[in-house]
Structures are given as structure tokens and as C-alpha cells.
Point group: C2
Chain length 319, copies 2
């Protein structure tokens, strides 16, 4: 198949493209490089089955030209602002990079008759539902971040475009995803801080913020496993919570990091409060029955994913 | 209070403004006149408590200038494409007039410290859930129209902006609303058709599409009753289904219209099928317990609302 990976120079996109190429697909990648990085793609550039377009997916003419030219079979839509903490200061980033990208991609799919899409959604659509085991039927989705709002709006667009144009859509609501090519987040921040001062570590909140971390390789396996499963279904849109059954606290991440860096005398300084930054959801718990019953389960637990990611980052250089 | 009515030259906006002025509020109205009509506002123009700005709410500078100048206490956001059937052909209208208007209004509220908003949402956010009694906790909102998708996306934005900026929001999910100043819809279409040919009436679908119709005066009373109730609540966002307990079929609308026009020999021609046009939700049923328990109930049943609206339109001229 010839597939588009929108936002393919980003963290998850890069990992996905590697696997898509390995499985023999032709990959067209579009990225504006706002968070994505061509370093991630440099190895791929030599692959004749890979084409890269640098540009803005919000620019309909730019996007339509690529749809016109490339004759696509499938769209993987991973283009979004993924730095929720940053967009809390500037919601325009979400309006543009997270919502408008979805709108323009769906419009082009409608116009050029592309019928299949995978969409990267997020646990942030649920909002802050402390103590609720979140499954795909949980009512009253009330996002607290602009990011979660733009992703929920994108899911709504996919619902309407799928119905109106007979598209088939696969949506995963991701938890925190980590692994090779990671660009930001708590692990990144901690490594940078400890590189500057290996004796003190500032930790936002009380350190008890606890979330499931999925290893990106596990996530990519799930995408490839289910990418064509929607065709067999009656519904136009299939949605799964995806993740791991375990979770890791921010303090535990700091502990694992100190172990891996061989640091024994680090003093933790907590900024205090249950939330690291406004718009963050400090704890959530997924019900994964639906995706497990469909035959997929993550290989790595949350703590293992954290440790593997730390090892991977420490083995490469960090600026 | 000094209030903004965004989309105030439209059908519901005009009715709302009349009541807001009667209650002694100062009203700032913005409308791009895409569906709104200054004829509706001509009587109001002489009222010194009323100011009208013609322009596009998607234009941030235009909107910000009004926020800067007017020192608003409350925003009633009714700006949207309300012609779902039209936008089924052109979703750009929803992206712009329904979603982007919400985004820009919330951004200006954030910037200028306006803390209270009423938002006109819709039953279309639920999608097509035949046989389900829809209440505010119904899970899996899957809009089938671009309109419903843009409204659900707007609700998500309100959730995030409210949390991040301590806004208080009141959201009503409207059913079909009819009454004086109506601009389009089935009643309008039927009158036009019968004016052309009083012996034949084409009816889209099988005529059994059955929906609750609320009289606009009832709706406006509910908005005024609850507009400040959110301040007393712990939640940032209060959401109600609003409507009537009864419903009217399309064929019944035709019958009432023929009675009111004094036509006895009209042949109905059904285009057939359960849906009038793609993207329409042919039947839905609201649970209204939440709003009834809060002390509001519609005065007019669905059939009465239809008859009053027909009488009102027939008493005025239709082009």
C-alpha cells in the first residue's frame, strides 16, 4: 500500500514509518518540523520507498497537491502538537496543529476518495476523572487541556466525515508514549536537569502523579495489527483505549533514572501540589478489555518502558 | 449587565436580544449576516442599549477590538452555521462558522477576562442513536453531520477553556427550534413549495422523520432563567438537554400546514427512505429530567410550536 504518515518526523511517526517500510509499504511523510526532526528521518531518506514533504498540513493547497500526486491508500494522522504543557500557554497551537490538521486531512480524503485513516487520539479527551476506570464507553468527556479538546474535536470530525463519505477509521486513545526518538516530557526534563546538577532534582507537583507509560514499539505493533481490521466491521469508526495495565509515578521515574545514571545522592525538591502543571491530568486508569479481547497486549509494563527509554536516551546524546 | 450576543442577527439571537433588552441589559451584537438578517434587527437599532457590529467573528483582530472596547460581562455564543443540510455539501462552513467562531470567542474571553458564557449546542452531537433515550450522560457521542461534529468540538473547547481560565459556562443542547424570525428548515420549505403549487407537496424521505420542536420563546425563557445559575455550582460547565416531551413527524407538519393554509386537496409525494437527506438524524428522543428538575418546563408542546410558527410565518410575508 501507499500510505501517508502525517506528522511522520515526530517521535511516534518515525517509529511507525520504520515498521511500515519494513512491512513493504510505500511511505509518504509530511511534517512541518515544528516538533519533528529530520535527524530522525536521515536514515530513511535513502530508502526509495520513502518520500518526505516538508510543509504545513493546514495549508490546503499544499496538502491537496500531495493527495493529487501520490494516489494514497491509507492515511496515518499523527500530526499534532504533542507538547501539552507548552500549549497550555498558547492554545492557538492546538487550534492549528491539532484540530485544523485533522480537518484539512479529512477534507482532502473526501476530495480524493481516500477511504482509510488511523488517528492518534489521547487519554486527555477524558479529562480529569479521578478514580474512574476509563473505558471507551465512559460518558461525559470533559478535557481540561486545549490539547485534549482539539483531539476530542478531531474525533468528532472523524465520526462525521466517516459517516458522510463512507470512510473507515481506526482511533487509538494513547496514554503517555515513550521510547526511541522521544522529543520532550518528564524523562527528558529530568535528564537535562541532572546533567546540569547531578545532586539536585526539581520535581513538579508532589511526585505522585502516576500514569501508564507505553513503549512506542508496542504501540506501533498495535497500529499495524489493527490497521485493516476496520474493513471487516459494520461500524465506520473503531476506537480503542491502548496502553499497559501498570503505571509509573513521577517519583518512580526519578528513582529509575538515578539508578540508570548511577547517581546515589540526588536530593529531590518537590514544587508541591497534586498537579505538575495546569492542564495536566495527574492520574488515570484505563480499562483495556476491548483491545485485549481483540488480541493485542503490550509486551512491556510501564516501569520497563520507562527504564528502556532511559537506557535508550542515555546511550545517545542529549543536547 | 453588558452582554455580547454573537450571531445575534440570526433566528434565535434576535429572539434572545429582544428579551435581554426587555430585562434591562445592554446588548452588543456581532453578526456576519451570512444567515442573519438586519430586517430582524431594524426595530432594535433605535434602542440606545443596543449596538450592532457587522463582521466576521473568525477575524481575531476584529473580535478583539470589540472585546477591548465594550468591557463585556457575559457572552451568548449563537454564531454558527445553522443550516445543516447546506453544510453537508460544504463542511468548510462548519469549520469556519461553527468551530472557529467558538475558538476565537473563547480566546478573546481568555485575553480580556470575560468569565461567563452561554453556548448553543445541539442534539446533533449525539449522532444517530435510534431507540436510545438521550440524556446528558449518554456515552459515545458520534455525530453524523459536520454541524454536529463542529458543535461537539466546540463543547470540548469550552470544557478546556473553562478549566484553564476559571470560566463559567452554560450549555444547552437544542433540539429543532422554531418560531418567529425562522430562516430555513422544513416548515419554510413546505410553505415555499405550496405557494408555488398548492396541489402537490414533495416530502423528503418517508415523512416519518419525527423530532421534538421547541418554540423559540420557550427556549429564550430557559436561557434567561439559567444564565446565572452556573455561578452557584461547583462545576465550571453546566450542560442541559433542552426541549419538549413530545415530537412531530414531517408528515404531521405537512398536515398542520395544509390546515392552516386552508388547503384540502394536497397530494403528498414522498421521496422515500427513512432519512430526508444524508447527515440528518431522522428520530431522536430526549430525556429532560435534568432541566425539569432544575425548575424549567416548556409551555408549548411540539405540535403547538409547529402550529404557532406556521401561523406566524403565514401572517408575515415569505419571499
Amino acid at each position: 500500500m501507499k500510505v501517508l504518515v502525517a506528522g511522520g518526523a515526530g517521535f511516534i511517526g518515525t517509529n511507525l514509518i520504520e515498521e511500515l517500510l519494513r512491512e513493504g509499504h510505500q511511505v509518504v511523510c509530511i511534517d512541518n518540523l515544528s516538533l519533528g526532526n529530520t535527524n530522525n528521518l536521515s536514515v530513511l531518506m535513502e530508502n526509495p520507498a520513502f518520500i518526505f514533504y516538508e510543509g504545513d498540513i493546514c495549508d490546503r493547497n499544499f496538502l491537496a497537491n500531495i493527495f493529487e500526486k501520490e494516489n494514497l491508500d491509507y492515511v496515518f494522522h499523527l500530526a499534532a502538537n504533542s507538547d501539552i504543557r507548552a500549549s497550555a500557554q498558547n492554545p492557538d497551537v492546538e487550534y492549528k496543529n491539532t484540530y485544523t490538521t485533522t480537518y484539512q486531512i479529512l477534507s482532502c480524503m473526501k476530495e480524493y476518495g481516500v477511504k482509510k485513516i488511523f488517528f492518534a487520539s489521547t487519554s486527555a479527551v477524558y479529562g480529569n476523572k479521578l478514580g474512574v476506570l476509563l473505558d471507551e464507553n465512559t460518558p461525559k468527556l470533559e478535557p481540561v487541556s486545549y490539547y485534549g479538546a482539539a483531539k476530542l474535536g478531531s474525533e468528532a470530525l472523524i465520526s462525521a466525515f466517516s459517516y458522510m463519505n463512507d470512510l473507515k477509521a481506526l482511533i487509538f486513545r494513547f496514554p503517555n508514549v515513550i521510547g526511541p526518538h522521544l522529543t520532550h516530557g518528564v524523562i527528558f526534563d529530568f535528564i537535562k536537569k541532572l546533567n546540569c546538577d547531578p545532586e539536585n532534582l526539581e520535581i513538579l507537583g508532589d511526585g505522585n502523579q502516576t500514569k501508564p507509560y507505553i513503549y512506542v514499539k508496542d504501540l506501533v505493533k498495535a497500529i499495524l495489527k489493527f490497521m485493516n481490521s476496520v474493513e471487516e466491521k459494520k461500524e465506520n469508526v473503531i476506537l480503542y483505549n491502548i496502553g499497559v495495565n501498570t503505571a509509573t509515578s513521577v517519583k518512580r521515574i526519578a528513582d529509575i533514572l538515578c539508578e540508570e545514571m548511577g547517581l546515589t545522592n540526588v536530593r529531590y525538591h518537590f514544587t508541591g501540589g497534586p498537579v505538575g502543571w495546569k492542564g495536566d491530568v495527574p492520574r488515570f486508569l484505563y480499562c483495556l478489555d476491548k483491545v485485549h479481547n481483540a488480541g493485542w497486549c503490550a509486551e512491556y509494563e510501564s516501569d520497563e518502558a520507562v527504564r528502556k527509554t532511559i537506557q535508550n536516551i542515555l546511550a545517545t546524546k542529549i543536547d
